[in-house]
């Protein structure tokens, strides 16, 4: 039986990164104490480059000195290592496959395209916005299937990897609306997605970890300005 002091957990991250947020939420949900190490992504530390030589990115979880990189890989590692807290994935292999499918969908189809919306303007942005709406429609339909048949439910306090990833994307939707001028989390167009995101933002761990609205708006504006300047150059 491992002693408490053998479970040394450090998380190298950056306060505004949604990928880092995923890991923080998972650690909080599981009740795992950890030390947060803020990284300056413009001036990356030697430690970060040593722990993540391949991607040189955050988040990196250091568990008893061993680094684990890539947020989704970290989430599965956390679930497999700390079996005492609430599970982040269901037990049944088919339900696990469904959860992984939609997590991958949110990550690849929604995240990537939302980033495009943030980094573009004019016609390119309109095109990207259209794609996000199409993907949200697919997610809305997928949720009908997920929520019935007991694969899924939100109980207000626990979250699984799909909840965590969706929350890391749309938890800040109000800041996104303010900066981008588009309402993606629309209760009329996507009632299931909207009620789900709203429920997730009310979970204690999420509320405790959410940066102030003004800070989120500022960072999103900064990312957008920098991207638009870079593409204009």
């Amino acid at each position: 039986m491992k002693m408490a002091k053998e479970n040394n957990v450090k998380l190298h991250g950056m306060w505004a990164s949604p990928y880092v947020k995923r890991v923080e939420i998972a650690l909080k949900i599981k009740g795992i104490p950890y030390e947060f190490v803020e990284e300056d992504l413009v001036n990356k530390s030697q430690l970060l480059l040593q722990y993540n030589p391949v991607h040189k990115k955050v988040p990196v979880l250091i568990h008893n000195g061993k680094p684990i990189c890539e947020s989704l890989v970290i989430l599965e590692y956390i679930d497999e290592t700390w079996k005492n807290g609430p599970p982040l994935l269901p037990q049944d292999p088919y339900k696990r496959a469904k959860v992984r499918f939609w997590t991958s969908f949110v990550e690849k189809e929604l995240f990537e395209n939302l980033l495009l919306v943030a980094r573009s303007e004019g016609e390119a942005q309109e095109k990207a916005i259209k794609v996000v709406f199409e993907k949200l429609q697919l997610l809305e339909e997928g949720l009908k299937d997920l929520f019935q048949g007991e694969t899924y439910h939100i109980d207000g306090e626990t979250m699984g990897i799909l909840d965590i990833v969706l929350c890391s994307l749309f938890g800040a939707h109000e800041a996104q609306e303010e900066v981008l001028g588009v309402k993606f989390i629309d209760p009329e167009k996507f009632p299931l997605v909207c009620s789900w995101v709203t429920a997730l933002t009310e979970v204690t761990a999420v509320k405790e970890l959410r940066p102030p609205h003004e800070k989120l708006v500022a960072v999103l504006q900064f990312i957008r300005q920098r991207a638009l300047q870079a593409s204009a150059a």
């Binding site: 568990h63 599965e76 290592t81 088919y94 696990r96 992984r100 969908f105 997928g142």
Partner: protein, 224 residues
């Protein structure tokens, strides 16, 4: 035992991965060939979101996306484990499987390019392959250690498909001189009996990819 069906495409490395995993586990399955350029109702029914192969159908339940199928197979048929037991090494495996998937397009970009653009593609492919060889494989016989595992299965396309890509694109990227360890891995991988008997026909692949490259280059020229 519930029935296992695999909807696949003979030339798809994503399809092949699933075949290898099923065979390594000794799972009987029915194979249904799908033409991705002429999609059937069966495929659209079982993968309505992405409409792609492979799709595994187990006892009527559909599982799309090859990496998700591989994890499902590992969890459902635990014999001959393809992932390590401990969480840290499983995390390493998932890291490299993800890396390979993310970099596949870059490594294969020589296929879609010509001239100066292709020169750049060769450089970028070499850079990613170096990372895979040095940090992923290292001095191990297989990516997972002494025996074949999920990482090897996920990188399997490097062992047989890539040489066809190179031939059709008239380039050589993954040469033995630059990548001695990857080359050794390719030989070891192809010698695994299940792999040896399951690889698609080289000539057939060559003709198929020749056609795809022609179409692709023609389209790019139209769009310029």
């Amino acid at each position: 035992m519930a029935e296992v069906k695999l909807i696949g495409f003979w030339a798809s490395p994503f399809s092949d991965r699933v075949i290898w995993a099923l065979k390594l586990k000794g799972v009987n399955y029915e194979y249904v060939e799908e033409d991705p350029y002429n999609k059937t109702q069966l495929l659209l029914q079982h993968n309505p979101v992405h409409k792609k192969v492979p799709v595994l159908i187990h006892g009527g339940k559909s599982i799309p996306e090859s990496s998700i199928i591989l994890e499902y197979i590992e969890e459902t048929w635990p014999q001959n484990p393809l992932l390590p037991q401990d969480a840290y090494h499983r995390a390493m495996a998932r890291f490299w499987i993800k890396f390979g998937e993310e970099k596949m397009a870059t490594i294969c970009s020589v296929f879609k390019t010509a001239g100066a653009e292709q020169e750049k593609a060769i450089e970028e492919a070499t850079e990613q392959l170096k990372i895979i060889e040095e940090k992923g494989l290292g001095d191990k016989k297989f990516f997972g250690g002494g025996g074949i595992g999920l990482i090897d299965i996920a990188f399997g396309w490097l062992a047989y498909l890539y040489e066809v890509v190179e031939e059709v694109s008239a380039v050589k990227v993954l040469d033995a001189g630059t990548f001695p360890r990857l080359h050794a891995w390719i030989q070891n991988f192809k010698e695994v009996p299940v792999i040896k008997e399951s690889l698609p026909n080289h000539q057939k692949l060559l003709e198929h990819l020749k056609r795809r490259r022609e179409i692709h280059l023609a389209l790019s020229n139209c769009l310029d």
